[in-house]
Symmetry: D2
Subunit: 405 residues, 4 copies
């Protein structure tokens, strides 16, 4: 066990990280700094301060930050410029919040002259990797304490026993019923894992979902929404200019109301196992669809295809925790460069669980109606050119064919 | 103008290809063989025979083939094994039928000793490329006549004037109203282009759609459907074993009933322009979702990622007409190899325009519940391993960090 | 034939482009502007001026520019930052000069208010594509006259007959002997095609090569050269700071002396045929080797691998003439971004046809000797970490193995 | 420390693995099975048997196998079909032998009912990963003992002290002088790491190299060699049909004589550090060059480019130890498929350190001289086609240009 003087803990105020706080104090005999972030998860953060104080944390060592704008502006939006989908489906809601938390943990470590950070992610999941790769990249000499990989409180029963033995409040829902879902929430999504979801055959219960109504319960009338883009980011909804985090909050509200953005998935974790997750990403689901819509008229074909070819790699980097790695930054440089002319607006239709693009326009459009028309184009396009185009594209095929290949 | 003796024409029996038939006879003074394919487009084909006979086509030169099973088994299903989506959204419904038509045109050319083929695709679109690349690959010396690139009947008015002057029947819908949508249909989809869709800003009219009810008009109750896969292909629906084309027909029926599979899109054509298209792909939309579902538990992570990385390239090859090119065949070899263990079943929920996977299972599953569990796993996974895993993955980042990078 | 008022011709002063000059005047009855570029091909350019004057070209319409520095700084060096090799071997010597010529043709067209450009590339090759894609990208409305695709002077005999009939000087080497090699030269390389090289079986004659001595004739003693890099470009040789074009000229001298950079190759042209080419790229061969050497210690592994993965695509874009296309620019943005820390020096050994890196160092090195050592590293690296690293990387393989896959 | 009953050790007979053998017996109190492979490394293997016997290994537990043919046929040749180069330069000589050793270790473990394997690779290198990933993939439940990650003999001094204390013979070269190079040899290459090579600035000593003469000492006359390919593999040299391992041995002899195949490199290890290595790969260097030569006339362009795009990924998989992973197998399926027509012969010139292709031919050639010729082609290729080809490829660039992009 390494010698630690001061550790910054990613502290939610919940049961698990409260146990960790106590365990760190007891096990490492070190000073603890708590960091609690408002990522838009929709929970009160002040109770975390009160709890921290009860553990004897010094007031100046309690950090509670509203990072919602930074989160959406510097992490969520850049990722959506890439149209990132992990394994064809997952919008990376948890993945994208971790590098921001890692960054703040390290910033606070530098401010408070701490030599270590700690987090509540288990040894089986992706989040430990995301936290720690970020931390190591930003502060190579930092020590990392991952209690779940160290202690012996590996069952929920042991954890609660430890809590009670140490006077840590366990609320009712933990005491009764079995284990809760393992959940994570921020402005981009809320996720559910564990319990009966551990069987990919078992259907999710309707009562599990939190942010979206069921499509069946959504309004019977569709709603149309206009999204305005600048350089690939949404800057206004229905004509109202908004900050980045307000954009996402508004889209969540709209999507949630219409039952949009539920996903039930088996994914491949970086640590090598498959895992079942259910996600609600109402705003993100709308955003991806709309972003593809505005790109469809403003991006050059080959640039769009280059982005599509690189997208799975980019998504894997984010999923695997390499946000702060130079290869992600290099890809982002390319992606951001492509968004210069991704300006204009898209109208989407929201209805009972689905979102569709119905209209789009841009001053920077590359759509050329005079050429695309089925009517007489007055010579804008010479159809005879296509003969030569096809002939030369076919040449290698014809040569091979003549050789009997 | 090249010297042509006998030409095989892809003949639908409609106005455009009837004009072409007559124009070929007049312009090339050559014998015409007609080929009319039942791809499941849902139209009567026998009228095409009657019309051909009226143009003086010899009975033995009239080919009307039911190719539905071949179409789905040898073209649609192999493509879905790749999870192919062009530009992130388009299911390639038109693209995938063209290589089959090209193949039959050439087979018939060889049978009838014809030296040329002809088709009704315009000089602006992708279909000319798909027909001709296929034809050249399969019969390098074939002559190709693409009337739309040769003649001067470039407006609908001139075309109809030619039709009337030559006694070709023009039905009412063509006479009245303006130009119709440019449409294409087969078992996989029906597409719409042209008219007011030429403005990407203009919303599609509800009356345009043919195969799907509007989500608003779909049943108020969701429907759950079980799809069984063998080697990546659906072989049974709700326990009933079906042929390939029956599978797709059934999925179309189910999807259409629930308003599933509409898409409104601006895409990039191979010939260099952007174009607006609307598509209905009810069965294909269900199929893609379900195929990803069964792959999620049966494919190795890195194999799945390899497929995801190659998918846009594969989709572009199909879109651009390179089905019969050796690079598509090489990719297919890899893709088919990966599907050996893609067996099992997926349950999907269909409801008012959306399809979601709610359950999946397989005897070949790679999902290992004993490892993935949040409960005590009895040592199946050693959490401490993750420390070393992260440390070495972070090593290059830490070294760079120490150098101030 | 389109109506052309003034055309800018890429004019070398040689037989072919002199015939073209005359043919343009006769055929299009238009004013001709000549552009002759010094790309370091090692030929006198003033004779081109005299010849142009003899054809009646106005003095202000004769452009003779030294573009060597621009060529190496803005085209060759950026390409070498990507380690570009077409089809694993070709250093793209001809390809990279064409976009610069296209750019100057268009700049001159704008200055002289010309409406057309013309060039001497044949209809079978890549160069026509490179010239014209560049021209169209930079001036979409420009007219392009490609005489080899229009006229009937398709054999060397007809060309010389036309020359003699029009008083165009044909020098001795053309009169006697058969057709010469088709050659192209600039500071990066000299190329040879045609004649007996058209048979891939036929060995090249020693007498063909121009810039390099045969390895057999090279000095018996090796020479060691130090190259200093800044941001991926060579800025000094053996401690002497040089301009970009001086760097390449010096490397050509050194490489040529030691028989370095000959290549005999069958390549795939963009127009669909295979073609045999022989190339001498003495300086470029050294440059590529050295650039990989400096990158090997200054680039992060994953950034280097990302570059390697994208390299063939970048090389194909350059080969195919897409220098001025947005996808090349997007890739360049990424590549240039990666070169920020590619600083330091490399020592190469030149000897009888081969170049090898023997030493390299950088203040920005990521090579960490304390970690890499086989000796006791004092805990810089914890070997036990590798156990967990391997265990988790193996996890998916072990799960599959247990399922009998 | 896990409970081990019988362990199969990859045993070279050298000092390190002899120490390991003894250490395994002492530490695990388990039965040891030794496996010594003849991979063509050029060392006597019978001494390994004698040494094993001296350690008390039962005769039936001593495996000494000649795996040279399997090595070249099933590992080296398939890899060369991919033109694999790691980081643009390294021919993967060590990497490709490890999966074969892993396979044999596991086969022997199954035969002898052993529950563990062990090897002498350190915790810093790639080889531990390659051995263990292979072992886990082929026998998921196997225990792996990696002494270098477990014991405290981390310096050469401690190792030799242990050897002497246990009566293990230490030969003179180890006793005197400092640490030797860390070397690895098999039919494909011999590698050198460590000692003063740990400084990337330090030049390698001429005396280090073993398999190749220095280019300076190579014959003054070039040698020409004909290689015949079937399905991408060399089957005959200068008309003499040879087995796979004989081919490589012969090429090594030829290359070594002419000073071919030396490489001095800094590479990126999978475990996250950079490392300096020197390699001699005489035969492999010739083989790669020749294989690209035969592919240049027999592979379709797009198939060749697909292979080039996938090559770095394939090479990384081999380098990182994923030979037995399903994604390598999937890629191999594609690669092998492409080699069907890679038949014919290539003539290479060997001279003082360099190898070049001077001639190539194939009955399956796709080189079409009638089309490629600079002479009149009699209409085989219609140059006018190129106009349309360029026009349509330029269309998107022109549309963008008109929009001022």
């Amino acid at each position: 066990m390494s010698d630690v003087k001061k550790v910054v803990l990613a502290y939610s105020g919940g049961l698990d990280t409260s146990v960790i706080l106590k365990w760190l104090q007891d096990t490492y005999q070190c000073e603890v700094v708590t960091f609690t972030a408002d990522l838009g998860q929709g929970e009160e953060l002040e109770p975390a301060r009160q709890k921290a104080l009860k553990f004897g944390i010094k007031p100046e060592n309690i950090y509670i930050d509203d990072v919602r704008e930074e989160f959406v502006r510097d992490f969520v939006f850049p990722m959506f410029r890439a149209n990132a989908l992990y394994e064809g489906e997952y919008l990376l809601g948890t993945s994208i919040a971790r590098p921001l938390i890692a960054k703040r943990l390290i910033e606070i470590a530098r401010e408070t002259k701490a030599d270590a950070i700690s987090h509540g992610a288990t040894g089986k999941g992706n989040d430990q990797v995301r936290f720690e790769l970020g931390a190591y990249a930003l502060m190579p000499e930092v020590k990392v304490i991952a209690p779940w990989r160290e202690w012996d409180l590996l069952s929920r029963e042991k954890l609660m026993a430890y809590a009670e033995a140490n006077g840590i409040e366990v609320d009712m829902k933990h005491k009764n019923g079995g284990a809760p879902y393992s959940m994570d929430a921020n402005l981009l999504h809320i996720s559910f894992e564990g319990r009966h979801l551990e069987d990919p055959k078992a259907e999710a219960e309707e009562s599990m979902w939190r942010w979206t109504v069921s499509p069946e319960a959504a309004p019977d009338a569709a709603e149309f929404v206009d999204l305005e883009f600048e350089h690939g980011d949404v800057v206004a909804i229905n004509g109202v200019r908004l900050k980045a985090h307000e954009v996402l909050a508004k889209l969540n509200e709209l999507g949630g109301k219409h039952g949009i953005g539920r996903l039930d998935l088996v994914e491949n974790r970086y640590v090598g196992m498959k895992s079942r997750g259910c996600y609600e990403t109402p705003g993100g689901t709308i955003l991806l669809k709309a972003h593809r819509g505005i790109e469809s008229i403003t991006l050059d074909r080959e640039v769009a295809h280059l982005k599509d070819d690189l997208m799975p790699r980019y998504a894997s980097l984010v999923y695997n925790g390499y946000w702060w790695a130079p290869e992600r930054v290099a890809l982002q440089t390319l992606i951001d460069h492509t968004q210069k002319n991704v300006n204009g607006w898209v109208r989407v239709k929201l209805y009972k669980g689905s979102v569709s693009v119905v209209s789009r326009d841009s001053k920077d459009t590359l759509f050329d109606q005079t050429i695309a028309t089925f009517d007489d184009d007055g010579g804008a396009y010479n159809q005879a050119d296509a003969g030569g185009f096809i002939k030369l594209n076919a040449l290698r095929l014809r040569i091979a064919g003549k050789k009997g290949r």
